[in-house]
Subunit: 341 residues, 2 copies
């Protein structure tokens, strides 16, 4: 059906190899020959078969993007960055979705990676909380980059936002507005980012000479429901916080909804700060003050270092922390006097 390299070669009156040289822009082809081959390609509408090329040349140029569960808006945005860089470099991105808690699925990842002859993998956050998976990958010497570091894997490559600093900045923003009781809704506590962001919050409080009140710190799972639920709990406290920081914009939106539910004005009576700056942040009312991570850039950077350095085995420092930026919108305001509240 489709024209093959042999067809092109025959038509141009050259060997397969010479036709191949033209396609790959090798420089040892005479100008006249090149023209003949290009003409044949044009006439036949030839398009090479990538899979045959990859098989023959021995490099698959396929990288995996491993995400726990489903593709979220957040990971979709990371994926945009991954895809742009991968496309430009002629690499494919194969999406692997797994349930990280199921040990069998980890086998499946390894199998898929080998089945598809992937050359490397990008790991989305919850994935590198699995010691089994990390162990298996390291044992196989399988190239990978993590999105955010993990303490189980020292020396591993990662790209991450400056979580601790970002959280610290957000906390100081609230402190400067006069808030003294600041609630904190964490993400999954076994994740590095959750702990880093909590650490930033605590560092800021310490600098401001405010004792950490553990009753104001709640766990969470990055979901909307957890933000909603824990914010309700915080607002029900005998002495509720005047501000809530969430580890992520989605639970921050939950906190705003919790305030709305009971008629607590935001930012009048409750300030809320998120983290990430996903599209949601500016789509809610009030628009959310949040710590912007360059999500797209993190994706692009991970793919760059994976393709350019890690897969070729170039040694370099693959721990990249990118700065965050506090984006002040309308969900935060000066703390009111008690009688106003």
């Amino acid at each position: 059906m489709a024209a093959t390299l042999s067809d092109v070669a025959k038509r141009a009156g050259v060997s397969k190899k010479t036709a191949s040289r033209v396609i790959n822009n090798e420089d040892t082809v005479a100008a006249a020959t090149r023209r003949k081959v290009l003409a044949a390609i044009e006439e036949l509408g030839y398009v090479p078969n990538e899979w045959a090329q990859r098989l023959a040349s021995g490099n698959s140029r396929i990288v995996g993007y491993l995400i726990g569960d489903y593709l979220s808006p957040y990971s979709a945005h990371v994926l945009n960055g991954l895809l742009d860089v991968a496309d430009a470099a002629g690499h494919h991105v194969s999406i692997l979705r797994i349930d990280i808690d199921d040990p069998q699925q980890i086998e499946r990842v390894i199998t898929m990676a080998r089945l598809r002859r992937m050359e490397g993998i990008v790991l989305a956050p919850p994935c590198h909380s699995s010691p089994r998976l990390m162990g298996a990958l390291q044992e196989m010497a399988f190239p990978f980059v993590q999105h955010s570091p993990s303490d189980r894997c020292s020396g591993c490559a990662w790209v991450s936002a400056a979580d601790e600093q970002g959280s610290y900045d957000a906390a100081w923003h609230l402190l400067r507005l006069g808030h003294r009781r600041i609630g904190f809704i964490q993400g999954p506590v076994d994740l590095y980012v959750s702990r880093a962001r909590l650490a930033g919050y605590k560092r800021a409080l310490k600098e401001a000479d405010i004792a950490v009140d553990e009753s104001l710190i709640k766990p969470g799972d990055w979901g909307f429901e957890s933000g909603l639920e824990y914010a309700r709990e915080l607002l029900s406290l005998p002495e509720p916080p005047t501000a809530i920081m969430a580890n992520n914009d989605v639970p921050a939106a939950g906190a705003i909804q919790a305030a709305w539910e009971r008629g607590v004005n935001c930012p009048g009576q409750l300030s809320v700060v998120g983290f990430d700056d996903v599209p949601l942040a500016k789509q809610i009312a009030p628009p959310l003050t949040t710590v912007r991570q360059p999500i797209y850039d993190i994706g692009a950077t991970m793919m760059s270092i994976l393709i350019e350095e890690i897969i070729p085995g170039i040694k370099s420092n693959h721990a990249i922390e990118v700065p965050t930026e506090l984006v002040i919108r309308h969900s935060t305001g000066a703390v009111r006097n008690q009688q106003d509240a």
Copy 2:
């Protein structure tokens, strides 16, 4: 490095073809032989090379997902459905992102599809508004499914939500609450879905004996900003609407924010209805009344019919409309008497 089929065959003392038979579960292999081969596979840790299999067998099992611009939260959710079905069927999904307005990009799509030997393509909404692309695909007899129909392509396969009916239901919900002036923010007017949803709105108004006031109908582009902007315009009208329907949840959130900006209470003074029921819908305050589309299922259905019927060339009716469901949350309420407003 990795064991090949030849290695397995050698170790098991059989021919490559027999080893291949075992791998593909062909039934003409003696039980004893099968055991030997399986043992060899186990010992060598053999995993077949999918690309070699695909090259040799002549079917690539690759399908494309073509989206305009970037992967949005909405298309990411469609993709989840696509991926689940594709994975189960052993197919790969290759994401193609293009700028639909650039004619050169259309060439690129065709080239990529041929380069990667894709067997079919799923087209996300804005893509089938390009007559050039559709023409090229039809001319090549390239298998594809559209997400939502397009009038430029009669007889083409598509899967879509019941847009007209969903919009009609939403409009009646508002009518029953007593609303007589209902603003409408459309999506891109050249898209089928935009027109279908507008048609449902008009049908409901007609049934309720309400004349369509064109000043209440605004265009839009599915973006948040357009919802915000057009809602501002609607609220600035001398006789503003008491409710706004948007073609999509994102601009509906924009409408809610526009109301918030000027202190218009939602749903007290303004009801807002969206469309799609993306996660955003329940993450805003007030939670959005919207028309739920089974987004994931639409993705899954598109992939199913593409793989099972369209690529094999089985004739059947590939125009599938899936029902929508009105989800009533808190952004809609009974219209108030004028003096309250």
